[in-house]
Symmetry: D2
């Protein structure tokens, strides 16, 4: 299949933030081109994106339904190969379902849906469709997160005993949703975001990261959510005690009101033979702790990585000391997902490396996590692990 | 009063660790000399300390009762002025009581007693005695901890909203108490340590630090304690959700089984106007977060400190960039406590700066903390704030 | 001009490293598409790039001369708008000259030429052509480097007194050029690299960074170059004393043989009122020193940046805490250079922000720097500042 | 010999800084007591120190000559065992000579003398006297510096190729010597400090550290000294190219006018098999670089240290994660020097560990270093290695 994959987008209009991230991430490696989109529910706003994105206005649809219909009518090679959905959470479910049922591969922003029920239904649709479905838990795209996972998998730190995962931010310390800041408006409104605010936006990333790195599942949770900014309808801060399915204990916390924290996703894992630590804001380093008290720092792109983790090497574009960061990690989700789409198109089995991207099962787990933390209210609740 | 204060010690024999720390810390500033001690309950072992400490064997007593009796019989200026008690937790109460009742000032290692009841009784004894009583929650002796407290007090970070305080260690990951390692033996034995292991040894420091820096009190706690090493009788790991008396939420965790963590007491405080962070292992820096995204790092011994905190300056012996560390922080507890003793001896009121050391009320709170975390077992329990 | 700019490339064939970086950087922001190239001097190898780059074989030329000729013959909008030249240093001059004379804008990898004479001739050609010419001293594309420059420009650190700039790497500690590692082969061969090895490859970046941040010019230099790996024909390590044109003193060093250093470009600038520090490997932070001993850390994408530096904000794609790195900094050179090309095409004056990219004068200075360090041999030599 | 060593002091009066450091460092380990001193050349000021130091006024002498005479007349066990000399540089030579000739052991602050001639004469006196002579190049007392030395000695980093050693400070950026700040006055006055300012005060520490860690000798130097503050009579900033006696290249720089630098002694050493880095301001960590790109961080007081360095363990008082700092490193010089004195008094050979302190030969090298950097003036000069 010697052409670029044709990408469509739903969402990502004039004031959006994450849409542009998806667009840049998708094209970084040169195998994808954006060819169509429904960038806004307001047809005129959608068409406004034609010029800055160098698209035909005809490819800028006024509704996702129109997009599904018209793209479906085009011949193969002229219609989109897959769609990226970057709308607020509440619309994920119908849009993703429509594209899957029309036979398109889907990349979907997280959290996956508005409820566990929708998540389970979407999972069924994905499985029936046979299409590739990727959820952009983008932080697992970082090479050093893959290395961390592989360090654990190798047994270097032994059996996991304790996990501390945190994701504090501070940008919602003021009620800027009342000033109409779009990023704040939908994130603090249950109509768009669902039952959880901070825990849906950030907590799900933290939970996903913890499960990805450890290979474990969070089995029980005791959550203490709060709303610091008066009048806000959803949690903007929360702390959780967690138990994993192997008996390990942990802490998970997230916040949108910690001044000084920018996007501070961090994880520490301690086991019977060692430990490790990684921070998203300084993503090039992975620290691995040995029982003799030394810390071994693995750095991005160096020979030592290759000895441990094929996946981390595959996720790396540059040599040592030339840092890659957020866009490149995000692009790794796209790279693996679109390579898997190519495999589907070419009729071959995808490799294990290509399949290394978050999928619909991760999405279901995210929704179960949200359900559990909202239900908990300071009591222990169990999370089904399937 | 132009002579060095005369110090006695109970505990701190041949295999002890913390006794030597107390001795070095006490003499660092030149105003104290060690003149007597009951260094072991075994009289012969106690006398073995005479040579290495350059003491007369006659001043090395075979029991603390003998010590109280004989020292009391000496004339003023020949007997000890105060005693440092550095024995395992279970003997703190009777020994401290005996010396206080005999009219000696007391410095006591933490946690204060074996139970809340003992703590309350000791508080009464202290108050009745009129003697100076200091508890070595030594981490509050660090200049940058005092600066952190004063930054909060000034209002720089506004109303406190969230506190994360942690104290992980890793040295008890193996059952070394079974190999007779003395430091491990008493810490893991309820007979010596009381109802809590890790939470008594480390959690109390973390709780004390959080309260000292914020000026708040922990009002409620939901604790998830665990014992990772099989067969161990006390907790060696624990995570807690906490609520402060102003409504702030927080997390407190401690561990003795996190490989890679050495003595990693750390605190982050976030408020309505800013935040701060401090780490014991790199104690010279205090990071203060502003809402505009900048971090202001205050460094040990520089002019900026003086503008904010008289207490931090008073706790500093060297100029900028000449780091001070654990011994010096410990010595600051001794300095303030012994300056307060001198004030008592000289019949003057101690200054506010001199009175800046942990006292019997901190000890009571520590015991209440231990009682609460042990009782909690995953449920919320309240901690009386007085 | 509502279409993507059409980019051609010379160099960047199968085994190349930097060519792919240019390609990714150029397209990141969506305004450029790669449409043609002469990817190798071997026509067959050049055509091999058609498939992975999704190009027509017809657009993959067998020589740069063929490329100039054929592209020149195409109508506007079908021919390339600009060329990126990413060949070894020795061929920069003729290729760049040919494209400029044919009326194409040029992006050229550094160092600019093989000699000062070539550099001066190329400068004349650029000025006569009226075309946009950008040199990829990519490190000045980092937002925090722009902030550093603007902090100096504002006077925050006063008059510059001392600069320490360093660029150590370690990957050439073994004679891997003898194993045919392509990146090593041309860098250690005077035929391709010119008179300097490490100092041409790395030292020029360090010198350019120092001049960009301070706004000063290096006026005198005393260099101590060495070749650590036996038999290597060019310097692989060097230390320099430097004097700036305002009288400030400094140090510049670079190395390819420092094990443990990856790509460790770092700069510290100290002035009469403050100082600053930046490191390429952790590029999101800029540390600014105040005389009171505090360090103010500016972090990528936060409000504080906006108050100081329009250029840093313009160079930023993401919000706070979502790190950008090497590719994005590189892309900023392309962004400003291609925006300037668009201005030229549209017949308008480029803005100051658009013009913020390294140009032919920086290239001349780089060649003068190389000439000086090679000539120095432990003695002071002057560098003409024009 | 079961008593504390009796210490006398020359210097260290009311406004002194380093005298108090010596006093605290000397007594930290409990084996030394201060019993006498000539704390000032003004007899009255000397006697003023009696009260704060809890000494008899009779032991506070009015001149060092009186002190030598009167102490010499006392019987053994009542007179001082050794003297610590902490006066400005220019008086080191006569005072040290007088005490050595009277049969006292000597601890002397650095730099050792005012000239190479004095240094050589003092070396002769020390050798003839048979007394213990220690020079307080205190930074080599840090455990991690000893570990660094032992890592090099073991061959872990191979043959040393490159050394970067730096010692910037910033506190003399203003002409505070004109305000009478005593620490500034004598450091900037050639009458007290000798031929070099910054290079004598700081450069000698840097040179000593480089030689201690690498086991090499600086053989050639090309220095570029400057005086930033107008009217100051000595250098306050300087950069040097250096060559070691094994052919390794390096850089040494020091400054008193770098705002933002506090006491930033740092060293990096790169060899054929690895590298290492240490920083005085964060002294608990030693970073060792491997060729595979990993960094191994050794931390203070952990098991890994013990495997490599008996000397680092012997220099450590606390367990892991309980940081020690400047005073403790300083105390390690005293500990080893006074243990060596005890050996002399007891008539036994000191051990290799006890002899690990800077001696008169280090002092000679320091004076040769000063002579060379002052003579250099931008030209290469050789330093005799004996």
């Amino acid at each position: 299949m010697n052409r670029k994959l044709r990408m469509g987008m739903v969402g990502g209009g004039p004031e959006a933030f994450i849409g542009d991230v998806h667009r840049k991430a998708a094209v970084l490696d040169g195998g994808v081109e954006l060819v169509a989109g429904c960038f806004s529910q307001t047809p005129q706003k959608s068409k406004q994106m034609a010029a800055p994105l160098y698209l035909d206005e005809a490819s800028c649809y006024g509704s996702y339904k129109e997009m599904v219909e018209k793209e479906s009518a085009l011949p193969d090679g002229e219609r989109i190969d897959f769609v990226s959905i970057v709308t607020p959470n509440n619309s994920h479910f119908p849009i993703a379902t429509a594209f899957l049922e029309a036979g398109f591969h889907v990349v979907l922003d997280k959290p996956m849906t508005s409820s566990v029920e929708e998540a389970l239904a979407l999972r069924d649709t994905v499985k029936q469709s046979g299409k590739v479905f990727a959820l952009t838990h983008n932080y697992t795209g970082y090479p050093m997160v893959k290395l961390a996972r592989d360090v654990v998998k190798r047994g270097t730190i032994g059996k996991v005993l304790k996990v501390i995962v945190q994701y504090p931010q501070g940008w919602l310390i003021r009620p800027i949703e009342r000033d109409g800041v779009k990023q704040a408006v939908w994130r603090t409104d249950p109509k768009f975001s669902g039952a959880a605010g901070c825990m849906g936006d950030l907590g799900t990333h933290a939970a996903n990261l913890a499960e990805y790195v450890t290979g474990l599942r969070i089995a029980e949770i005791c959550a203490d959510l709060g709303t610091v900014v008066e009048g806000r309808k959803l949690d903007d801060d929360g702390n959780c005690l967690i138990h994993f399915d192997n008996g390990a204990r942990g802490l998970l916390f997230a916040s949108q009101v910690c001044i000084g924290e920018l996007n501070a996703l961090r994880i520490s894992v301690h086991g019977t033979e060692g430990g490790l630590r990684w921070r998203q804001e300084y993503p090039s380093d992975l620290h691995v702790f040995a029982e003799d008290g030394t810390i071994k720092t693995y750095r991005y792109g160096t020979a030592a990585i290759g000895e441990i983790s094929e996946a981390a090497v595959a996720a790396t574009r540059l040599l040592f000391g030339h840092p890659e960061a957020f866009f490149e990690a995000f692009a790794n989700i796209y790279k693996n997902a679109t390579d898997t789409m190519r495999a589907a198109i070419e009729g071959r089995e995808p490799t294990e490396l290509e399949l290394d991207f978050p999928d619909v099962d991760d999405g279901v787990r995210g929704m179960r996590f949200i359900e559990a933390v909202v239900e908990s209210n300071g009591q222990w609740v169990q999370i089904p692990t399937a």
